[in-house]
């Protein structure tokens, strides 16, 4: 069949594979740094979110609430567009950083909800026990609640990371050279003049990354659950 023959042509073509790997590099770069930024923002927002109500916390809480509402309530593509063409409309500004910030901020909103849910899922009795043993609020949170919460949020965060990696494919919209853009260029008239084949190969690349990530998450999960009796 022509389709499989064309895939063979693409996979054995050094130039095309080089283009795909270069695109893959950008995709991974954005994903990794955006995930880290997202985890950082998400953790901070989650901690602010579950903090006890007090006059000092009122403003930070409101800001976090607005942040989560706006970011979760608007499409990622539009957030990226606004970042690239208004906020970071500076000449020579690396688009990689624009993308990392846009995706990090977006991911942070989702991660914060995941972490908040994880912390809340730890039985209140744990906090009470910690306080009864004479630990202060902060130590209880850091030493008792969060370690148990992490175990609960790993699957949800893994889910978010997978979504993030695939969502980075929209950076081709602002003209960045990622895996999807590479596939598009290979498909253009001056190269293979067919989109289906390079897109399929690019899809396999995404699948491979996500599969690898799933595998890593499973290992982490298993180790965290080593002491569970289930």
């Amino acid at each position: 069949m022509d389709f499989f023959k064309d895939i063979g042509v693409l996979v054995t073509n050094e130039k095309y594979m080089g283009m795909l790997f270069e695109g893959l590099g950008t995709t991974l770069l954005i994903s990794v740094f955006a995930a880290l930024l997202g985890l950082l923002i998400g953790t901070l927002v989650a901690i602010v979110g579950i903090a006890q109500d007090s006059p000092i916390m009122k403003l930070p809480k409101l800001i976090c609430k607005i942040y989560v509402t706006i970011i979760r309530g608007t499409p990622m593509a539009l957030q990226l567009f606004i970042m690239a063409y208004t906020i970071f409309a500076i000449r020579g500004f690396p688009k990689e950083i624009t993308a990392i910030i846009a995706f990090g901020i977006n991911s942070g909103a989702y991660v914060s909800e995941n972490i908040r849910a994880g912390i809340l899922s730890v039985d209140i009795g744990q906090t009470e026990a910690g306080r009864a043993l004479g630990l202060n609020g902060r130590t209880t949170l850091i030493k008792i609640v969060i370690p148990q919460a992490i175990k609960n949020v790993i699957p949800a965060i893994g889910n978010e990371l997978i979504a993030l990696i695939k969502e980075t494919s929209i950076v081709s919209m602002i003209g960045m050279y990622d895996l999807t853009q590479a596939a598009k260029i290979i498909g253009a008239g001056n190269n293979m003049a067919s989109y289906v084949v390079p897109m399929t190969v690019a899809a396999c690349f995404y699948l491979a990354i996500v599969y690898l990530l799933t595998f890593v998450i499973k290992i982490i999960e298993r180790r965290l659950r080593a002491s569970d009796k289930r």
Partner: protein, 282 residues
Amino acid sequence: MKKIITLILALTMLLGATLTLASCNQGGEIYVQTNAYFAPFEYFDGTEIVGVDVEIMEKVGDKMGKDIVWTHGDFGIIIDTVAEGKTADCGAAGITITPERADKVDFSKPYYTSIQYVILPADSDVATKTAGGVTYVVWEALEGKTVATQTDTTGWIYADAEIDCEGGVLYGTENTKHEAVDSADVASESLGSTIDVIIVDQLPAQYIVENSSKDFVCYPLYYTGKDGEPDAAVEEQYAIAVTKGNTELLDAINEVLDELLVKDENGQTEIEKMVMAHMGMN
């Protein structure tokens, strides 16, 4: 936990440092906004953007002693980006001069005259006409077809006016559909299945037909002459868009274009030769 936080903070600072460094190198460059899915004027060769517009702008850069920095993005944002002038000094993407666009940006001299073409599958039932040795398609022949154009290009502007807007040639005709797509290249993938016709400029049309593995043909698109007048092609002129007020750059571009538009002994201009070279036809 502490280690992780330290690591994340370190990475953030690293990011910040690159950011500051990157925003410092300003001055000796001309930033050009384009959409590199428009062969032979600009297209990707590997990760490099090449084409006729690229050669023109390189000459402008040589003249002014500045480097050219290319930015690729959607075609639709080029005019606005150039008008704002924040991230681009000019736009070179086979841009047709229209009054609406000329309100926002300054145009250089036109350097290429193009006409609108339609791409059809070889076995299409769209009727063609022949007059004076030229085979063409008139708008009326596209009735009942699904027409694809790249958003915001002149093909899209024409199709929008004739199909989607009141008073258009095909407005209100049954089953005539106008679909906006990312690029004519992408549309050619579904030509013959979900799309019947693609309207695009002459050279990209010929380029697509030549390079496609499928059996496509392309013809010029004509307006039917009113009151017995002959049918006429949909003609347009390409120019480079420059941010309003940047006369230094505009003058340099015009000077380069003047040089490139001088006809040689065979009556060919340098630009026509570039076009032929990029079409692989010399």
